[in-house]
């Protein structure tokens, strides 16, 4: 009798309880792993957004710095077609005498004053001597989704102080904000 019992015992598989415990543990483990996976995916997504902004901002910075560095002597100014607000612009000539304007544009904001009346602007470069009109958003798009560098006291992305230009790019896409800033002193002064 004892021998038969022993045989039965060694041949048995899991009891229902054991199986349930294992399943519960597995479920918990999967739940934790799933949670971490979702969080990682979100972080990955944010990283990708930031990476995209970084690429675009680097390109814009490089382009603007190059243009401003090589501008013609004494041509640095703010674009002011009709008087009034001019904060969101920088006008300069290249060495061939063409006039360009770097400007922040939003179709809903008709003035170029330094206030961020709309939440988001795009940076454009217009060849005004070639007929581009900044008021209608002509030219080449350089950087999208620029927001105010400082929400409390709007300073603009493009500032001229003396012979020096400050480029302060704050780009926001979904919840990600990336800021980069530099100064340029034109070389042909």
């Amino acid at each position: 009798m004892q021998a038969r019992d022993k045989t039965r015992f060694t041949n048995r598989g899991f009891t229902l309880i054991e199986t349930i415990i294992v399943l519960l543990l597995l479920a918990m483990l999967l739940r934790v792993a799933g949670f971490v996976f979702v969080v990682s995916l979100r972080a990955w997504d944010a990283g990708r957004t930031r990476g995209g902004i970084r690429e675009d901002a680097s390109y814009a910075m490089e382009k603007a710095v190059r243009d401003l560095t090589e501008m013609a002597n004494g041509s640095l100014a703010q674009y002011d077609p009709g008087g009034g607000g001019i904060g969101h612009t920088i006008q300069f000539n290249d060495l061939d005498g063409n006039t360009y304007v770097l400007y922040l544009y939003n179709p809903d904001d008709s003035s170029f004053d330094s206030a961020y009346s709309e939440s988001v602007y795009d940076l454009w470069k217009a060849n005004t001597s070639g007929g581009d009109d900044p008021a209608s958003g002509d030219g080449v798009l350089i950087l999208r989704d620029l927001v105010s560098p400082d929400a409390t006291a709007p300073a603009t992305a493009l500032t001229i102080s003396g012979s020096q230009v400050t480029l302060d790019f704050v780009v926001q896409r979904s919840d990600e904000i990336v800021r980069t800033r530099t100064k340029v002193r034109p070389r042909n002064l």
């Binding site: 060694t10 041949n11 048995r12 598989g13 899991f14 054991e18 415990i21 294992v22 543990l25 597995l26 483990l29 792993a33 971490v36 996976f37 990682s40 972080a43 990955w44 990283g47 930031r50 990476g51 970084r54 680097s58 910075m61 560098p149 400082d150 003396g162 012979s163 020096q164 400050t166 990336v178 800021r179 980069t180 800033r181 530099t182 100064k183 340029v184 002193r185």
Partner: protein, 121 residues
């Protein structure tokens, strides 16, 4: 014979689960490394621009006022620890200018340096 006929014991299964969990942890840590590597690049690019900014400021100022300076923070760029401009005179009309931007990341300090000469012309 007895051993060959039995299935897994509970202990064996638990060990398997723990091992699987360990494996998953490693994978998750790798994802973290990949994500941090991305922000490394962002910081060094911004730091490079900020170092350039200081150089341009110095180039734009009077030759006599090109001097060493340390900023312990840069408003708007909280990741930066400090920005140090080191100026030494090579001769009466030439200064050696070095700008270093430092920031802390992953427990270590990173830095980027730019160096140039400014002449009194």
């Amino acid at each position: 014979m007895r051993n060959m006929k039995q299935g897994f014991t509970l202990i064996e299964l638990l060990i398997a689960i723990v091992l699987a969990a360990g494996g998953l942890m490693v994978l998750i840590q790798l994802m973290g490394v990949a994500i941090f590597a991305d922000s490394d690049l962002e910081y060094s690019l911004t730091a490079l621009n900020l170092a350039n900014e200081k150089l341009e400021e110095l180039k734009d100022s009077d030759y006599s006022s090109v001097a060493s300076a340390t900023e312990n923070s840069i408003p708007g760029f909280s990741f930066v620890d400090d920005r140090i401009a080191t100026v030494s005179e090579v001769n009466t009309d030439l200064k050696d200018v070095q700008v270093e931007v430092r920031w802390t990341q992953k427990g270590g300090q990173q830095s980027i340096q730019l160096r140039t000469y400014i002449a009194n012309y």
